[in-house]
Amino acid sequence: MSKPERPPRWADRFLQWCCPKDNIEETQGDLHEAYYNRIRTRGPFIAKLLFVIEVFQSASLRTVQFPTYSFRNSMTMFKNNIQIFFRKLLRRKSFAAINIIGLTVSLAGALLIFLYVKNELTFDQFNTDAGRIYRVYCAYAYPGESKQEFPYTPPNLAPAIRPEIAGVEQVVRVFDESDVMVNAGGQVFNEKQFFKADSGLFKIFTAEFLAGDAVTALSRPNSIVIPKSTAERYFGSVSSAFGKDVTVNTTDVYNVTAIVDDFPPNSHFRFRGLLSVDYSKENLHPDNWLSHWPQTYILLNKESVPSSIQDDMRLMTERILEPIFKQRYGKSYSEQKAAGGLQEYRLQPLLKVHLHSAHMGDSNDIKNIYLFIAIGVVLITIACFNYINLSTARSAFDARSTGVRKVMGATQAQVYTLFLTESIGTAIIAFILALVTVQGILMADTAFIRQFIPAKNVSLNAIAAFAGLSMLVGVASGLIPSRLLSSFEPVAVLKGLVVRGSGGNKLRQVLVVAQFVGSMALIMCTLLVGRQIDFINSRPLGFNKESLLVVDHVDQLGGNKQVFKNEVRKFSAVAQASLCYGKIGEPSNSAAFTPVEMIEDRKDLVVGIPIYIGDEDYLKTIEAKILMGHPFPPGLPSERQQIILNREAIRQVGWQDRKDDIIGKMIDVNGRRYELAAVVDDYNFTSLKEKIGPMAILSHYWNDYTMLLLRLKPGTSHEAIAQLESTWKKIKPDSPFEYSFVDEDLNRLYAAEQNIAMLFSGFATVAIFVSCLGLLGLAMFVAEKSIKEIGIRKVLGASVHSIVFRLSSNMIKLVAISFVIAIPVAWYVSDQWLNTFAYRVPMNVSPFIMAGLFTFIVAILTMSFQTIKAALTNPAKTLKNE
């Protein structure tokens, strides 16, 4: 009969651990014997079961040996360990420096990421009851089109909710009044973050009142609430601002009824001024249910359930919209809905607004946060691996000390803690350096960093958290090397039998390859991103963006606009000038247009397009190419208003094959009629991320010219600006003169991309650095392992070259493998990113080759430190113990 199964091994080991040492032998033996007997008599299952039961019965916790360090000498030993640690640092400075720098870089990077992530995750949490606050968004679909969601609501929504829906504590609207001109304290300001809000706003959002109070702040019409920063800007101090009047858009006077602390940077809603709503002047027409412009925020009661509130809202709006739809669209809401239409209002928790509304507009995405956390984890992991790598690669050095210590009576555990102290000490030093570095970065207060991390100091929480993390890193990285280095036996060491360098070589090689793949891919992506940015800057846009200057807010000149233009045109620096509306790069107005002749037979051909307004010199100023027709004639009266369309607009109405006969036809734009004056060739009036869409330039619209667009002669910008400013001041001295350059504005469209480029190059640098550390570890290991072999070869006449080559060949192979792997990775990632642009550079090989070459050179340099040093060692030294 075959040998019966052994007793369950885990139970056996447990027994060894928890059984008193003085009788473990007989106990264990008895239990084993009983087990084998029982297998015969009662079967294996019972035998195993009883064995396990009896193991637990024999356990005696009192004598359990926890793997603790004997604390008898702990204080002295600890001090001694520290002493040895410092001595080691000083003696092997370069080794220590490499380890410490590696850990510092990773910890600093991880700390920065931590601060950023924490800031992003805590958005809007300063509001008490934030958990009960919701933002209303609209889920909208036009029949036949896909659903969209946006955070704008009809102004009628909040007033309808207030009386009807139970369970709502407060509901307010916030209207964006951006781009207002404010007269305060004798100065004029053009402000962007101005809003109008219902009186209950501060019942929802929490603010610290420095003057005035939440109840009265917005309760009367013509009140304005300003944050501290605005108060100081306008009046110099909070106390002098309170109760003063400011004028908005030259006609409306508001009284400062309250001053609050600025909302913290991690709030999705920040304002420079908050105006109250004049309910007596508010006119809520039912048709407004079809327009969405203010944002609506809701604070629910403690007992309310959001989903049922949402259902109540839906029922209410379905009821209200039913007749309105019928009247405006010809079909009632329920009919529209049956055909695939949708107009519903839903609740989004406030705390999710910042990170989970990327599809609705311009906020951050939780995916980016995950990405950054992943990067942080990767950084720390790599740091640990590198530490392990480097510490175990030169193990011969420590092997001797371990051997001697053991001879002098140290237990393995004691030597283990010595090396663990070393790794923890390194981690602590790295932590302190990382902290200083990050604090320095934050204090430098560069705009680039501030947009990610608004704090000026590392918070105490972060310091504590990272101190803990660093200790953990120290322990984690120390476990493996300490175990290895403390395991050397004195006899083997002192006899010289220790195999120099030791295990983990496969792991090390895999790690180095992974690190180099990462670095090379990052460098390739950085180069590709750089090329796309160059492309963006240099690609012809269809109009001339050089030396194109915009003077903003010319509507403030009123009737003197034309005078200003005429004056300005006389300057030698100015080549062309045109009054217009609509920023190139960020069209703001949009309308629906359709050729009049098509209205009758093709009712659905209504296309929503961006609108610019320009005078007779507009096309000349931007140097757009006219395909058919002529620019607007000067002095065109508004009854004979005209329109210029681009080629894409023409194509979208189906006229692409027509010729000059379309010039002069009437086009309907949002109900007004325009005569088609010209067709221009398509040019990029928005970001290159989008394919050129349809666009219209109108001679007149319901709003006025707001900008003067100027083509300057090259190199004249300084004097031109000076002259423009003085001319402006002559006409309207109390309005601020503001200008910008079109090419700079266009660049700002790609701010995100430029940030990405900077981030990528930052990461690439870190990655290369870290990979070289890994490679260094590998090189050290290889050098040490073959030190005797090198000695013998040298004695036999090998040259330094051949030895260096020999040592490096394997590592070069690894770098080559990394290159091969990195190419498809980088290709795929950059291809995805480049495809977000409608106009992109084609892929070509040079960035890949350059990245590979660069990395290769850096790798060779790194390796050469060790390989050349090894190749130059005197064989007498290495072989003298043979």
Binding site: E25, E26, D30, L31, H32, Y36, E54, Q57
Partner: protein
């Protein structure tokens, strides 16, 4: 090796049984006691319980122990063998005598051998 504070004739039921078994088998160890106990009393008993009893009896001086041979079945571990001491014998018979005296006082029962 008499522990203080325990009365010489204080033995629990199990302890007494184990001591008796050791007296009639001679040299015992935990497994053999367990086997014999299950055989005569018909009840299963766990080996560690026997260990405890044997050690306690040794502590009280009724048994003495020595290490025996190893066997492959035990993974090469030796067993600890116990045998009763003279003191143990005398304690056991003292207990028996005391008990018999009590039994004799019961009129109705005639017990064989008394």
């Amino acid at each position: 090796m008499q522990p203080s504070g325990t009365r010489m004739n204080q033995l629990g039921n199990l302890e007494e049984t184990v001591l008796l078994i050791s007296m009639y088998i001679g040299e015992v160890y935990a497994v053999s006691v367990a086997e014999e106990y299950e055989h005569s009393a018909g009840q299963r008993i766990s080996v560690p319980a026997i260990h405890t009893v044997l050690r306690r009896l040794e502590q009280k001086g009724f048994l003495r122990s020595k290490m025996g041979d190893a066997s492959p079945q035990r993974g090469g571990r030796r067993k600890r063998l116990y045998e009763p001491t003279a003191f143990g014998f005398s304690a056991a018979s003292q207990i028996r005598n005391q008990r018999m005296k009590v039994w004799a006082k019961i009129p109705q029962l005639k017990i064989k051998g008394t």
